[in-house]
Amino acid sequence: MSEMLGIYTLWLREVKRYTREKTRLISSFIQPLLWLVIFGSGMQFSNTGFGQISYQQFIFPGVVAQTLLFTSMFMGISVIWDREFGFLKEILVSPISRISIFVGKMLGATTDAVIQGSFVFVLSFVVGIFVDIQTYLTCLPIMILITFGLVSVGLTIASRMESLESFGVIQTFVNLPLFFLSGALFPLTHVPKWLRWVSIVNPVTYGVDALRIVILKSAWTPLFPWQYDLLALGAFDAAMILFGTMVFGQRK
């Protein structure tokens, strides 16, 4: 019971901090907009092989996944902030178990990332996709599944980092390959074999695929059956949460 209260408390804190930062709320529109409008319309002319859908529509679910990915990883920074500003000690010295601390932070960061990802749906009209409430609500659990594991990775890496700078560097090494090799920007059907293998072990691939199945409906030929996508994401989440709690639980 007290553990649940602790998890709730830490979750609430993350969400409060996030929603109080107006600049971040606004900037969460900017990056997806750049991808959709600038990158999307630029590529539109060099590529026509998408049948009924435009390139912008093709990358739309990918940009949702990208927002989730980048935000999730970025949230790891909260661990480093907390350590720099000493707040981590206040949590660590409380009776709450390390596992609950990790879970509370993870849930909080997931909420923030999913809110951020949801903003991208507001931009769907820009690329001429009609997303109704039902489609969005179907996407929501997929978004949460994508985020759980990625947030755990972010938090785990951050908990081992000494400084903000080194976390930034590592982040780039993780973010960009996961993004580029997820099929978010180009279809994985015509890529060389080795690339295809890499994308199969990339959890984001399954997220992008599942989002496309829901958002683009019949216009999209799924890479995997949606059940496989969810299963792969679920397995990734379970593994990362477990790993994260283990790393977080260690004491000097």
Binding site: K16, G86, L92, V93, S94
Partner: protein, 336 residues
């Protein structure tokens, strides 16, 4: 304090507590007991191992060897029971400055599972105690250093801990705020019958607040007693003599039976002597007879500073002066 001297009812028992970081021994086989209800001080220079000791007692840092019992619980084996029994005010700030004061307190109450019906009452109580009622709903980042410190002390009390650890509670605060916080601590100790362990490198602070003091240096306790006892332990008064001929005067005095200790300190001769008032004229006499010119003299009862000097041969803030030199040196270089 009722229990001083005897070990009737220790709430903290530390035995051979040791912390090693690689080859560095930060805390070296500390042993001490803290009585229920007392204000116990760990006094020592920066880097003496005080914070490390507190970190181990509050379960943040793993113990290398030795044992520590807090409120009947083993720190190494029952960390969550220990954490429930203690409150801690860290040396560095540890509040969330994007939340308000009240939110910080609420969060703390939840982390310690203070029952919902009690929560509001205790938060108001604590806010009143630290006189921050009117600022409770402002963001922490708008608080001054002293206000933050007060809120942190208040926060440490919300869950009614049995032991409150205070790590350098007034470090970096202005004298006025320091005085203010001292009053809180004394008031608290009287009112709540809470046991407090504080670390400090301010002599005055230790002297004023603590019922007993352990002087720590290089990870070891070199003296442990009531402040009064520690000072009386020097068995004498301190006479400082300013003269050009320190060595000569020292030589003349060193065989006298009432002289306990002679040291040169910043170009002055420091004499620890029984019945200082009576000895003072004798020093003047001896100096006059040997043609030693005395520029000035002063006499005072021993302070903790003298006690620390006596045991370690150093001043507690020996590093301070040199640091200043460094800065001045850099400035000079820049001006050129």
């Amino acid at each position: 304090m009722e229990n001083i001297g005897g070990t009737m009812d220790p709430i903290i028992e530390v035995k051979d507590l040791t912390k090693r970081f690689g080859s560095l021994v930060a805390v070296d086989a500390l042993s001490f007991a803290v009585e229920r209800g007392e204000v116990f001080g760990l006094l020592g220079p920066n880097g003496a191992g005080k914070t490390t000791t507190l970190s181990m007692l509050s379960t943040i840092l793993k113990i290398t060897s030795g044992t520590a019992i807090v409120n009947g619980f083993d720190v190494a084996r029952q960390p969550s029971q220990v954490r429930r029994s203690i409150g801690i005010v860290f040396q560095e700030p540890s509040i969330d400055d994007r939340l308000t004061g009240r939110e910080n307190l609420e969060m703390h109450a939840n982390l310690y599972a203070v029952p919902g019906s009690e929560k509001g009452k205790r938060i108001d109580e604590v806010l009143k105690l630290v006189e921050l009622e009117d600022r409770a709903d402002s963001l922490m980042r708008t608080y001054s250093g002293g206000m933050r410190r007060r809120l942190e002390i208040g926060r440490g009390l919300i869950h009614h801990p049995k032991v409150l650890f205070l790590d350098e509670p007034t470090l970096g605060l202005d004298p006025q705020t320091r005085e203010h916080i001292w009053n809180y601590i004394m008031e608290l100790s009287k009112r709540e019958n809470i046991t407090m362990v504080l670390t400090t490198h301010y002599m005055e602070e230790a002297d004023k607040l603590c019922s007993r003091i352990a002087i720590v240096d290089y990870g070891k306790i070199i003296a442990l007693d009531e402040p009064k006892q520690l000072k009386e332990g020097l068995e004498g008064d301190i006479i400082m003599v300013k003269t050009e001929m320190v060595g000569e005067l020292s030589h003349r005095l060193k065989d006298m039976s009432s002289v306990k200790d002679l040291k040169e300190q910043k170009g002055e001769l420091k004499i620890i002597v029984k019945d200082g008032e009576k000895f003072l004229p004798r020093v003047v006499e001896i100096a006059a007879n040997s043609g030693i010119h005395i520029e000035s003299m002063s006499i005072h009862e021993p302070t903790l500073e003298d006690v620390f000097m006596h045991y370690t041969g150093r001043e507690i803030r020996a590093g301070g002066g040199e640091e200043y030199h460094g800065v001045t040196a850099i400035r000079r270089r820049k001006i050129r």
